[in-house]
Symmetry: C2
Subunit: 671 residues, 2 copies
């Protein structure tokens, strides 16, 4: 057999592969590897579509998921929504044709973007049970609902209408899909229940009802009646655009001139910048977009990417927001009651490959979370929980690449998932999330996403570190305090007895040895109401002029009444501060605060900082971080200078040095 | 805005998405996330195609990979092969159309199966540099070579011929593709070099030359002139076939009758079984395949899947084999020189979802491998190294789900990658590998694959455990031996001096205390040649009749000359055994062995077992495993009985018990 006949043989086998045929063979790529995962993927694709459609129509989503037995290894899955409904002519393609959809070409955050999901479920149902999917859909202005039975012609990737009818449906509008598939129902990890619970956490405006195969009904009630703002459609941003993409945009543009094309087909380019860019690339502003040849396209792209453009508008994104992240975590944790909620971090929008994205992180610690297990990770992309492929996800990788030992968690070798009683929530929102596969279960590695997730994690981790070191310092100093208060009087009594003298007053001695300022927050827990106080006591042997800083969730703190009123504040950051009256040795003073009803704040939400004394002499608060741009009041500086001039109040050189440092700028120890 | 107008608005946005458009937007799914990975994927797709084509044509592959700079962030990649060449009419579709190929519909192990890879590289090159790919291909019987410049029409997913020519090429046949793409060259992890090295390990019949951007040439020479047998095309096997697939096969069949369809379109169904199955399903053997309706298809599938069919033939698969796995590992480890090579495990072929697959595992331990790092994992699918997505791969997951602490490796919490100086190679070969994405970087979770990988790993791990426990027993006993030989004489000397008596002969006492039989293998290392011996010494206080067993690589041991000749052997398993002459206390005997030149065996390849004495009294060998079906020679049984009849030779009851147990059947402690 010669090579040529081989070449001919090989050629005779060359064939086009339909995309449906490809995914039928590679159904694991779409998330249909096994009956359990196939069920989850089916529910997920249907519910994601329902949420997208309702939100786009400005309707508060109301979704019903029914899962019922249908033979030994088959389930009937029906998902019904109150969305706007689908026009008759679109129904077959929407449900029975892969790579067909309305959101692929729109630059806006959406759950579904690929035009694959629900048709893949129909494909899988047909493959495993040979039964068509049953669709009912009704739009508001039509009397009847359309009822279609659909399957997919695999070789052609085209819908096949098995039956069709118009029927009455007791709904104003909405869509229902019902499929019979080889599937297995479980609860617990990676189950429809877990997926719907996660969905409810980050979509508190949706009401979702699940009926399980045994008839159990589980309802996730709406936590808010307000729809999140609908993300606006945006234009591709030049940062990260590839040459080939720019070429397509130029060829496809209907604008009469280059300057119009740059300002109206791209995001972030003002007319002035467009003219500068075109001049820089040696192109005429009035030239037709289609006339730009290869080398000129390269010049244009490079001029665009080195110009200083407007950042992408983030209104194409729909972040969850710190408040809902916190409320969501509280919901999911329920009985676990963690001891510490780090203030959720919401990073500003960035661009990668022309698409805006942003990252949000929540972190909780302690309480009933397991101590000797890897931390729990809740991953979300565009408000959809990611339940599979944790090990392949950029989120997990970013967590594993940080050295958590520096923030107080155990971590073998300083990489991989840390161990400890913590839970980390990460949400990546983007007009285009780079998933590792069509099953949309993990986010692909990307340096820009990695950087933003890492920065957000570090922000949350710094709060964790502060909490843990505060906790351990508090524990250490309290222990010391207790020992001194117990032992010293006994010692004095014994010694006095031995030498036959009266027992002296030990207060100044104890103060001398303790040498701390204590800050005790007494904030009412959720049960006892929202009033509280900070009690500050000077257990050091000299008078102190101190500044106290309270930092917490800005929205909640805006509602607080403080007594006395703060001396200054940065309400956007949630920072408030006071200069206390001069505190003599053993002197004590108090700040009180009160929140109106309905505001959820607890002691863990407040960070306390004190300036005017160094960290080593503080109990119950932290020294003011060096990166806070807060001007130290003149009074503190003067007091320090006076103390130094007097040669100190019988303090050791070292201590005076400490305090002198205190008044100078500090460098934060975290990066 | 009413719901209906919303429905119309949404409808107006519905569009078909071309598969090229989809992958342009989701290039990370194809392995083109970033410039470094894009380069690797491009090289991989081209080389995999070249290997497949050459092997299919029965040509020993000769592949040249040239990577050169082309501007600041661009590389020119050219891959040239000596394959059969591609006919002119197929060139555009093969290189510039996604989902087009010759191997998708063939049931046979191949590297490329999807018809996506190389066109995806052309797509990426066009996207990032707007430059067409340059193809030259020549088939043996044509005078000239075809030279085409190609790009992809994204909206249509169709090839666009930029230029075309016929040229002279100084080769009998072959193909060359050259692309310019945004890419970054690195060495080290996840680099083209690592990929080509891995490829060379499992494709020792290929010669591969890499030219790096700085001009360095690296050649992987052929290690064998023998092509692996070309996997044969097979038919879909009914086990694991889905209902929808059976339906497609029935509809698409050109056979005149059901009985012919079952026997000729499916694998494993004999005419007799086909008739039984059809009778069981209530179908006529002569009925036309296309006439079988839905319910009858269900009956037919269920009858097929409960029938006892022939196992799938494994000649559609191309395993690497134990010899090449070992040789490959030796190559890749080079200077590391591990202390232990577990005999590679090659599992028999199994079926999942109608597709045959098999699993091979190699494991090495110790030497220069790092002690405090997670074990290294080398993953291969159809002889292609998998370099990315390790965390998402069924192979990694199977490794992480085993409790390696039971086999002597550290593993936090008994799950996850174990820690220790080990390297594990796993190869999954199948007519259809279920990859997690089109980038083919990780194998999807699957219970059948998981089971086979786990069984293979356990096989290798048991050898590791045996090695480690032998090592620690040896270390413990040697230590004991050393202490006794050092301390006892001193003690005797001192005591004799004190009581004024001559120092007694301590040999019998030492023997009494040591109470071991030692086996010392002295096998020449690779440098000193392949001769060696086993020295067996009886340091117990009574005569011993022992059987010695040597187990090792069957092919190599078949060539060995033993002196004295073995009493028995199972050459297929690589087992040889001897009954030694009666060894008196302090007696010693020797077995010697010699290999002809060119046979690679070292001491680590041989496992030594002894029967006739229990494990606790053995140093340098293991007790005979209980699951070896080797009949104990009568002599040993008699000796044991005689010893018992005589009331033992002044041994404690306990020790006699030990030895009595020895002669009875044993149960292996591993599952």
């Amino acid at each position: 057999m010669t090579s040529s006949t081989i070449a001919q043989q090989l050629a005779s086998k060359q064939r086009e592969i339909s995309v449906a045929e490809f995914f039928e063979r590679n159904r694991q790529i779409l998330g249909f590897d096994n009956p359990q995962r196939a069920l989850l993927t089916t529910v997920k694709e249907a519910v994601d579509n329902s949420l997208d459609a309702a939100e786009e129509a400005g309707i508060l989503p109301e979704i019903e998921v029914e899962i019922a037995k249908d033979g030994t290894d088959r389930l009937r899955v029906a998902v019904t929504d109150n969305g706007p409904g689908i026009l008759r002519r679109e129904i077959p393609n929407v449900f029975a044709r892969l790579l067909y959809g309305s959101r692929f070409h729109a630059h806006r955050q959406a759950r579904g973007q690929q035009g694959i999901g629900i048709s893949a479920a129909v494909l899988y149902a047909g493959l495993t049970t040979a039964r068509p999917a049953k669709i009912i859909s009704k739009v508001a202005e039509e009397e009847g609902a359309h009822l279609l039975e659909l399957s997919i012609d695999i070789q052609k990737n085209a819908p096949r209408i098995v039956s069709e009818d118009v029927t009455l449906w007791d709904r104003a509008h909405g869509t229902r899909i019902e499929m019979i598939l080889k599937a297995r129902y479980i609860r617990g990890r990676q189950s429809p229940l877990e997926y719907l619970r996660g969905t409810a956490i980050v979509n508190p405006h949706a009401r979702i009802v699940l009926t399980e195969p045994d008839g159990t009904r589980i309802t996730f009630e709406r936590a808010t009646e307000t729809l999140p703002p609908l993300p606006r459609e945006t234009l591709p941003h030049p940062y990260g655009l590839e040459l080939g993409e720019l070429g397509s945009l130029l060829r496809g543009s209907r604008r009469p001139s280059l300057v119009e094309m740059l300002t109206k087909d791209l995001g972030g380019v003002s007319p002035r910048v467009a003219r500068e860019v075109l001049a820089g690339a040696g192109l005429a502003a009035s030239a037709a977009p289609g006339s730009v040849d290869g080398p000129a396209q390269e010049r244009l792209l490079s001029a665009l990417q080195s110009a200083s453009l407007l950042a992408p508008s983030s209104d194409c994104l729909s972040p969850i927001g710190p408040l809902l992240i916190k409320r969501g975590l509280r919901n999911v944790l329920g009985e676990v009651r963690p001891e510490f909620f780090a203030p959720p971090v919401s990073r500003p929008a960035k661009v990668r490959g022309g698409f805006p994205f942003l990252v949000e992180v929540g972190l909780v610690y302690g309480g009933g979370l397991p101590v000797d297990q890897p931390v729990q990770v809740l991953r979300f992309a565009n408000r959809v929980p990611l339940l599979f492929q944790q090990g392949a996800c950029a989120i997990t990788n970013a967590i594993g690449s940080m050295d958590w030992r520096r923030y107080g968690l155990d971590q073998k070798g300083g990489s991989g998932l840390p161990t400890g009683p913590a839970l980390i929530l990460v949400h990546v929102a983007s007009t285009k999330v780079p998933f590792t596969s069509e099953a949309k279960e993990a986010i692909a590695e990307d340096p820009d996403i990695d950087r933003e997730v890492t920065l957000a994690l570090q922000g949350a981790a710094r709060h964790l570190k502060a909490h843990l070191s505060r906790k351990s310092r508090r524990a250490f100093a309290s222990e010391k305090f207790a020992i001194i208060q117990r032992i010293l009087p006994k010692l004095a009594e014994k010694t006095s007895g031995l030498v036959g003298r009266p027992v002296p007053d030990l207060t100044p001695v104890i103060t001398r040895i303790m040498d701390v300022v204590t800050v005790e927050p007494v904030l009412g827990t959720e049960k006892t109401g929202r009033t509280g106080s900070l009690e500050i006591t000077n257990y050091t042997p000299r008078p102190r002029i101190l500044e106290v800083f309270v930092e917490g969730p800005p929205e909640e703190l805006r509602t607080a009444a403080f007594e006395p009123a703060p001396e200054g504040s940065d309400a956007d950051l949630g920072r408030y501060w006071w200069t206390l009256p001069k505190l003599m040795p053993n002197g004590r003073t108090r700040l009180s605060l009160r929140f109106p009803a309905g505001i959820e704040v607890d002691a863990n939400d407040l960070d306390l900082y004190v300036a005017g004394i160094d960290e080593g002499h503080l109990l119950g608060a932290d020294a003011l971080p060096g990166d806070w741009e807060v001007r130290l009041p003149r009074a503190i500086v003067e007091a320090a200078e006076a103390a130094e001039a007097q040669g100190g109040v019988k303090e050791s050189e070292e201590e005076v040095d400490y305090d002198a440092e205190e008044t100078s700028a500090r460098v934060a120890d975290d990066e």
